[in-house]
């Protein structure tokens, strides 16, 4: 059994329509789920839309959860699927400008900043994080997704296999290809060959 007895009880109560138990279930993973969604879209509004949609899907689908994976992994799978679906639909409208604001030709800025940084440190950090995110956006969605899950969110290969519903061998080859491509974009000035 991949879920704890406590989780099983909460899931059962949530299935019966208990709002507070459902909330207790999702609270345990909403922080990471939001962080994940944010990295798909790089803006809080879309991330919250995706998260809300994901959680409602989870509520509707509780009856189909068999406990074959952990509840959290199941949640992240639904979040990943929802983000991908939304991103595909919005792809035409999502441009680099909306993800990474460019102040100048070679300058990139990022919305999230650490307030404790000094001006110089902040500027360096802005440029660095802006550039790596810019490069990440140049990857195909499938490769960007696996970099987000592995290198930003830190999921294990096994978890990624469950979240994306692919076999571990595919995870390995996809990570390898995505990192090779990202390096190519990174050293190539932010543009794919």
């Amino acid at each position: 059994m991949a879920i704890s007895k406590e989780e099983a009880v909460l899931i059962e109560k949530a299935r019966m329509g208990s709002e507070s138990d459902f909330e207790a279930l999702i609270l345990s993973c909403q922080g990471k789920a939001y962080s994940m969604a944010y990295r798909y879209f790089n803006n809080p509004e879309d991330a919250m839309d995706a998260l809300q949609e994901s959680f409602l899907k989870i509520y509707r689908s509780l009856g189909t959860f068999k406990g074959e994976s952990s509840f959290q992994t199941w949640v992240y799978r639904i979040v990943a699927n929802t983000c991908c679906d939304m991103l595909r639909k919005k792809k035409a409208r999502i441009t680099t400008e909306s993800l990474v604001k460019m102040d100048g030709e070679d300058e990139y800025t990022l919305e999230i900043m650490d307030a404790s940084m000094g001006p110089e440190e902040r500027a360096i950090h802005q440029e660095m994080t802006g550039y790596i995110l810019h490069c990440l956006e140049k990857l195909p969605l499938e490769q960007k997704e696996i970099i987000v899950l592995r290198d930003i969110q830190g999921f294990s290969y096994e978890d990624i296999a469950e979240i994306l519903n692919i076999n571990p061998g595919t995870v390995k080859s996809r990570i390898s290809r995505a990192r090779v491509k990202l390096r190519e974009i990174y050293v190539g000035g932010g543009e794919p060959d």
Partner: protein
């Protein structure tokens, strides 16, 4: 050719998933290939930058809005929701997050509503709450009030004055009484008691209308299972999130 194969493996090098033979082969190759060593350094630099990306924090407005969406979902027909599950779900608050996000950023409390009239010239304290409380009370326990203060049980039985000395309709002035309503000093004439009961939404909306005279719109409101009313109130220059129960209305601490 060998470099290309090595570089593909280098992309997985730090994950420690390669077998011993592969690792040994890579180490031997790196010792004699500057190009692949540079390649590995670049991969490590990219990895470090990705790891160092700031962790986004979930905005405070997410949970109350999601709760509302969930309740709407719970109310809907179960069979219909199962059918909808086959289709993409339309976010119930899509595009409205910016307004909600204002709530989390605003903590200006300029609102004090005072009802309990105390004798001996003491400054009024709303329903006995601490002086710095943000609670807005439109209810009072009349018997207790009279017992403690000698003031009329009903607001309608007496007449009090505002801080400018203008009689306030529906209240009777008592010796030493001072009425101070922040932001309402010049418009107490309409103060004639709140209609409805503390269980009803309109009750709290009327409290809100009276608190400081500002125009506002209700962006969202709902009553939770514990009987607490939730209101997202949009003013011209800010938005505030209130909760209300048992006749009391307060700025929600959950967003502070």
């Amino acid at each position: 050719m060998e470099c290309r194969k090595i570089q593909e493996q280098l992309a997985l090098y730090r994950d420690e998933i390669l077998d011993k033979a592969e690792l040994e082969n890579i180490r031997t190759h790196l010792a004699s290939c500057d190009e692949c060593q540079l390649y590995l350094d670049q991969l490590n630099k990219i990895s470090a930058e990705l790891t160092a990306l700031p962790e986004p924090q979930i905005p405070a407005e997410f949970l109350p809005v999601f709760r509302h969406a969930l309740r709407e979902e719970m109310r809907s027909d179960h069979n219909e929701t199962m059918e909808n599950d086959k289709n993409p779900v339309r976010p119930l608050f899509s595009g409205g997050w910016k307004k909600w996000s204002m709530v989390a950023a605003v903590f200006v409390v300029g609102i004090i509503s005072i009802y309990g009239l105390q004798q001996n010239g003491d400054m009024l304290n709303p329903a006995g709450f601490p002086e710095d409380s943000t609670i807005l009370s439109m209810e009072e326990e009349p018997e207790k009030h009279q017992e403690e203060t000698g003031a009329p049980q009903s607001r309608a039985e007496g007449m009090v004055k505002d801080t400018e000395g203008v009689p306030v309709e529906g209240f009777e002035e008592q010796p030493g009484d001072v009425m101070a309503i922040a932001g309402m000093e010049n418009e107490p004439e309409d103060w004639d008691g709140v209609k409805g009961t503390p269980e009803e939404e309109n009750y709290y909306l009327e409290v809100l209308k009276r608190q400081d005279g500002r125009d506002f719109t209700i962006e969202n409101s709902f009553k939770d299972e514990e009987g607490v009313w939730h209101f997202l109130v949009q003013y011209d220059e800010e938005a505030l999130y209130y909760e209300g129960k048992d006749g009391e209305l307060w700025i929600s601490e959950s967003l502070q």
